[in-house]
Amino acid sequence: MRSTRGSAEVGPDALFEVRDLSVRFATPRGDVTAVRGVSLEIGRGECLAVVGESGSGKSQLFLACLGLLAAGGAAEGSATFDGRQLLGPDDAKRRSLLGTRVAMVFQDPMNALTPHLAIGRQLAEVALDRGLMDAEAARARSLDVLQAVRLPDAGSRLRQYPHELSGGQRQRVAIAMALMTRPELLIADEPTTALDVTVQAQVIEVLAEARDRGLAVALVTHDMGVVAGIADRVAVMYAGRIVEVAPARDLFAAPAHPYTAALLASVPRLDASPAERLAGIEGQPPSPGVEPEGCAFAPRCPAVLEACRRHRPLLERFDDRSVACHAHRRSQGHGS
């Protein structure tokens, strides 16, 4: 389990595997491509963080895998969980995995719980619907998971309604709900974005604990601080493509892709002098409607080369990491 950490790829025992996944949305003004041929894998008990700015396609990637694309969205490629195909029209097959072996947590805790159902009912719903537990067992398990997410006074929480809880508490209930059926993979789509910083730390800790007990976590976020707290590996997305995958420690120590470097530089640091300006990334990401020629980051890239504007760099292995960048390739002594 631990051995998978520290390498750009998981190897043959990947629990969750995405191959060449593309996501397209049909809009009145033509097709928009949100995800362009992304491949990644997650091993058992591993936490992969997928980072990128808004619109980079990181959320759509996972929504597509779970069949949750908005109207007009279509996914191509392959996404397998434990060897079983998630994409495609077979709804029943996908549903049999969802909620039992694969669970998802969403961004907005305010809306993630049904307002008129008491917490206890919501927690038990999936287990009861699948006939996995009887009411008594579901109750016991509900108390367990609420304690696991460190919600104090779990017994009386079961009778409360979502509006009686704070945002952080609701997000923890949402995570507890995902943990009910002991899933093997948890997909967390920006689980901390809507929370304040202290609560963020608690939520990340809860996820890290679940990971340490063997749960694989796919964490979608744009918050590098969150990534540092939990991720084993990090995949950086830009304009619908993965531009760099690396073990978290290596990525933070020495980002290879200029975009990763820029992302890291834009995180405020406590040890920076107050006079120093926070580095932003100049320019705008390309609009998802048009496929840019060459590297999508080229117009904003400080290390841009002539080749970047003409040829799109492919994702290539360099020791422990994979990077899609001409400049990095050249610096590693590969061809011109």
């Binding site: 779970l66 069949g67 949750l68 109207a71 996908r94 549903r95 049999s96 995995l97 969802l98 909620g99 039992t100 669970a103 998802m104 969403f106 961004q107 907005d108 809306n111 993630a112 719980l113 049904t114 307002p115 008129h116 159902l117 008491a118 206890g120 009912r121 719903e125 999936v126 619907d129 009411a135 008594e136 109750r139 017994g155 009386s156 079961l158 009778r159 309604y161 509006h163 949402a174 709900m177 995902a178």
Partner: protein, 294 residues
Amino acid sequence: MAGSIRASATTEGTLWGDARRRLRGNRAAVAAAAFIGLLVLAALLGPLVSPYALDQVDWTLSPLASPPSLANGHWFGTDSNGRDLFVRVWAGTQISLLVALLATAVSVVIGVAWGATAGYLGGRVDGWMMRVVDVLYALPYMFFVIILTVVFGRSLWLIFLAIGAVGWLTMARVVRGQALALRQREFVLAAVALGLPARRIIARHIVPNVLGTVIVYATLTVPQVILFESFLSFLGLGVQEPLTSLGRLVAEGALEMETAPWQLMVPAGVLALLLLALNFLGDGLRDALDPRLG
């Protein structure tokens, strides 16, 4: 503590269990419910208590229309044909309550199921389901009822059915609009992500969230239905003499408004009180079903 947790496994935490508890805390709603209960009792027992029959003309009166009086035993007076209004008002209340209850129930059940399904599934299914509603809307209502009565003969149940069968159209549209909005909410997405089947998501996550609107709309439907019944009866398609309904009694009373005002005031008063109580109850129910207001 252990006892209260155990209780939560039964009624606490369920939608209706908690709603009942919250409803009990709403004094206006409880009073309204009690009053409706009284009216129902009166409607059932009133005709039995009175010495007069529904269609019995009291020839001892002169003129035949007698104002309310304790002396001659006509507590609510008599109508222009000398029939006892006390008996007729309560018999009419029976009919009106039945129509209101059944027709509203039919329209709520069909309307909510249809609208929630169309709104949640969306897309082409929604398109077709709502086109069906549009087509039914376009049929002239009276025409529809007349055909029904001609084909199946005149019966009380047919009126319930006919009124309910048309009433659900608006309900379906109202519910569908709400379901469309709810479909985009994250808790519905979360339910899909948990792999719950559509039928269960509609029943547990969509319908309960539209109940507030449904109840308010249903409360508005009740008076409409009662009045529509009297309109049908007036055309000779509804309840027939000697049976009567509140709507009919009001219509007949209105003709004698100047000479025998009690003929209007008594049934109109009962109808108004009934509708008022229903409104209070509906309001209370809506609040009770929303845990945020509990």
